[in-house]
Assembly symmetry: D3
Homo-oligomer: 246 residues x 6
């Protein structure tokens, strides 16, 4: 099975980090194909960044879809799940966002979970997603560690700060598990989990494994007239004219 | 007061139709400034179209914001409210989507409302918006008339089909009002209302009047550290490099 | 356009204050017609007061409706929205409560909002209204400033106390805007907004502008057999016999 | 124990019918004291009627409270529960509405329930109450039998029509029980129950028995600073001046 | 009327305590028949204990149902309401859990309520029940006193600790009443209520009185094809073979 | 990895069928260990059956936990997820119910889903689970095929009846996928999916793959003082005395 991990931002070092985590999480027969977005923001820390990350995500899926050997599933590796609905319309295979995947695994652990994310301004989006995915009642708290996305890798304090934030979230919220709210934290989940003594869920690994779970489900793409059926063809113009060809 | 009506699709005849409806709805001191998106789909009938309409919306707001005399409010004239959160981050003034505006007015009528939209595949998005805007409990039914967006103006049966759909929605759902689910229906609300004997709410007129209501509220942009504060600056690359400059 | 602002309590100085705020908020072609309730409590600070403010509200609407030139809309200027449903049954025009109006505008600002009201015992009613109007998910906190309604005008500390309460609510709740929870605070919104750097929404101004937005919507009164159609005629007796004539 | 059954409308024959049903439902040591409202509508079939039934309800409670031997609990015998919150503020004892009581008993039966009421225009109010009382998720359907309140007693078809409506509701909604949506149906519950083979719950009997259950709970009136503590004293004027004296 | 109080744990002293409280709460014509579970845990302080308390509950109901004079209602006297749905399927009479009963009475008091239970690990179950019973919106707080179930009777500090926890819950949560979260607290409600000046609701007394309210409702068992109709007969084997005979 | 599939009923042919489906769904390194409950009902078609299936489930987990090589995860292969919370308390590894697993995968497909189950009386339980697992908003319909559990394997019409029910559910509910509501349907998902052209999700396969996804998440068992920490030791007596030893 080949899973296409799309990094919705344009920072290749972050793609590399996430592909490593994805490959480590994948089953023995699974190959991770990493794709860095070809356009848009270097990191995603606002609604603006996220909205402008979507074209790159869709371009990546379209490129893979018309490749000789399309992938068997797509993982959108940004905790805002940018473009998830649109991606499902154009893909012929399952599409998973790492936020939905991480929250789904946390729900399967049982009990409530906490989210620890990067900047506090992204909490609004995470909260909205808990409602969209039906897990708002299980999410006991949303917390920021206030480290910008691109400093997660370089800040020497990242692991200590995140570990502390996860430990406090677990206790203060009375949660059974913690969800990490950024793809750039993918390499830290296991170590933090060992330190705090509770499941710590990284969305990249979660999405890869859930993709492996969804691929064998027959029936993709879904109903021909459904919400996610192929978009009606139409004229695209201007800078985005290339998106006319699906 | 100057209100910038942004047509998120690239079809200028639809911009013209909506500007006319907006100007007719506006107060005597209000000027409507119509802007057609410079890029993306000719109409918006899927999650894919909607996602790719967002860059044009954001470009239009940024262009206006750095103009000599920025507008006092922005109306996103597509019933999916594409890019609403991102637009609020970069605008220094209120931003209204026509779906949120129409549903807000319907809630103020009192009782339940029905939505009559274009293609059935867009019902999923409308339903999601009723939840995001808190009116899911008031929305008694979502119905499609199955006329594509760009045929609303030219199909000779549009008014009859819509009137019939609105009348049936009112009765079957036991609603007090009907919301029209497409900016391209903006010129029909009053006539349909007269025929079915109940309020019929067009989002374009609704958004213009609600913008007039919001502009005098001081305090935009809001709290400096809030969810809608200005996005952190960062590198944008590829086709979307121009979006780096806010 | 003529909008009838009904003060549901019997204190004329408060009517005057609210009419001034309403007229200041109204468009150039709008005349505010102030009406003080002819019966009931001098201020509304309990469920008991609110229930007994309703007959005066309904009498005012009936009186206006049979006047030579009925008004084009009605504003119920008490944050409990007393008698809103009943008023909608007997009016031939839109009826707005200032709580619903203020909350609707806050929802259109985007993000969450806080409410700052008078006495803590009224928080239960405000909370109930956030649920009825569908905005409970957006309301991040309900706070009391513990100044009785009729002392708002005379207490020299009112503005300072309210400003402080609004600033704290904004920060503690992580809100994007603040709603003032009493018609008697109508003159303070703009000044507090300037001080705290965020939208502060007064329901009186909000209701006037939303009334201006609703009046042009055709179709009032709504469906002939709907929830808000004219009440069935019947015998009224005792002290309230006069209410038999609608 | 003495329970004061207040008929919020002014029709004494309906009071008599409900007192008989209440007495039949009461325990051996319970005396039902029937009170017919001294003012307002002869029956309650609209928001307008209901709002104007509230003063009579509050007057009845105040009169009883200052009587030599106040009652031990109050039952508001109209399915809209008019004035319930206000009544709780002024009573020194439990106050029950027949809608809340009937729905509470239906919830204790287990599974879902249906409501069969009089006129379809009252369904909106019943629906709102299911949300206020937390049982919206258990209420599987709201149905009208289209018999006006005051014709329930005289229409020879009442029992047959109601039985049929209850039987259909049970089947169509997949409910475990049926709630009768009007105090005027109090004498029919047992017979309809026998015919349809399922619990049929009349709010008058339900409220009497639940009042008997609540009276022994110590601690009324509740917390001194709570939502239902005694209303602040203030000036009442006009036709309602008498309500100043609590 | 005879009400069967089933203690789902095997500790007879706790049965005795609860039967005394139940008899004290019952009407003059009501006899309480106490039954201690014949199998399973000595107290119920985990999901494991609760699950394994269910067979004893079902055995007790089946034994009573085939007795010469079956009881008129069943009370499951453990705050987790173990086996409630299954018990309703096999009983020919109403079945009440003390958690549902206590929460139902608290809802009828009006306003919000707090729960004070034994160990913090049981809060998850109590929270789940507030959702199942539709009262989650009324439950303002869930608190543990950290006294194990079987020490409630013997710990000399029980009353003081509980009184303190109830008083704090009332204030901190802004509640109108407190629900005691364990059948073993049944004898303390009245004294704590007197001390904190608010209704304190014990589920045992609540369930007995609500059973008295439900018994006269005709129609048990409910619809022949409903969710709670008699289970289909089938083979039971192993240690539980005896449960085949209903 | 070794996954213990526990059949909560006592019918070994059904265990065999589910183990085959589980092994087919499992990754190459995964061994499925099938366990048939040693006590209780031959099939689970009521709340009664489900409650009495729980002891066998818990006994199976305890037996495995003290085995030389405990399994890495547990799958409870009955659509009611009997004993899930209790099982999580005593297991040192993830525990999945097939209902939660199937619904989680359906949510990851995107859009709404329908459930097709066996007997209509089990719809109440399935509905309750959609609420517990947070997917009630995504579940567009619950349908019964009215084939008893143990006849699924032998009834020659099973596949045709189920295919028809799934196809109708998809269309009538406007769903994107269908969830099969019984472990005994595990072998039919792929064939039905091919026929109706949409994902059809069997909980057994779903749970196996999700178990494979959860096992690598470190941190089981979770927080030492959490809801799912090991139950307090205590005395068990009677027929269930053996459950004292965990």
């Amino acid at each position: 099975m080949r899973i296409c991990l799309i990094n919705p931002n344009t920072t290749t070092s972050m793609t590399d980090l996430m592909v490593r985590a994805a490959q480590a999480a994948a089953g023995s027969g699974t190959e991770i194909v990493g794709v860095t977005s070809s356009m848009g923001p270097a990191s995603i820390e606002s609604h603006y960044d996220e909205a402008l990350a979507v074209p790159g995500v869709l371009a990546a899926i379209t490129a893979d879809r018309v490749a000789e050997t399309p992938c068997d599933a797509y993982v959108l590796a940004c905790f805002g799940d940018p473009g998830l609905d649109a991606a499902r319309e154009i893909a012929d295979a399952p599409v998973l966002g790492i936020a939905q995947a991480a929250m789904a695994l946390a729900a399967l652990v049982g009990g409530g979970f906490s989210v620890v994310t990067t900047l506090s301004r992204t909490i609004g989006r995470a909260d909205e997603l808990t409602h969209r995915y039906g897990v708002a009642g299980l999410c006991r708290g949303l917390h920021a560690c206030d480290i910008p996305v691109l400093e997660l890798e370089t800040d020497p304090d990242t692991e200590a700060v995140l570990t502390d934030a996860c430990a406090r979230a677990l206790t203060d919220d009375g949660s059974e598990s913690v969800v990490l709210g950024c793809g750039g934290m993918a390499d830290l989940a296991a170590r933090i989990s060992a330190k705090i003594g509770a499941p710590v869920i990284d969305g990249v690994a979660a999405a890869v494994r859930l993709a492996e779970a969804l691929v064998p489900v027959a029936g993709f793409p879904g109903p021909a007239s459904g919400e996610y059926s192929r978009p009606p063809a139409k004229r695209y113009t201007g800078m985005l004219a290339g998106f006319e060809r699906l």
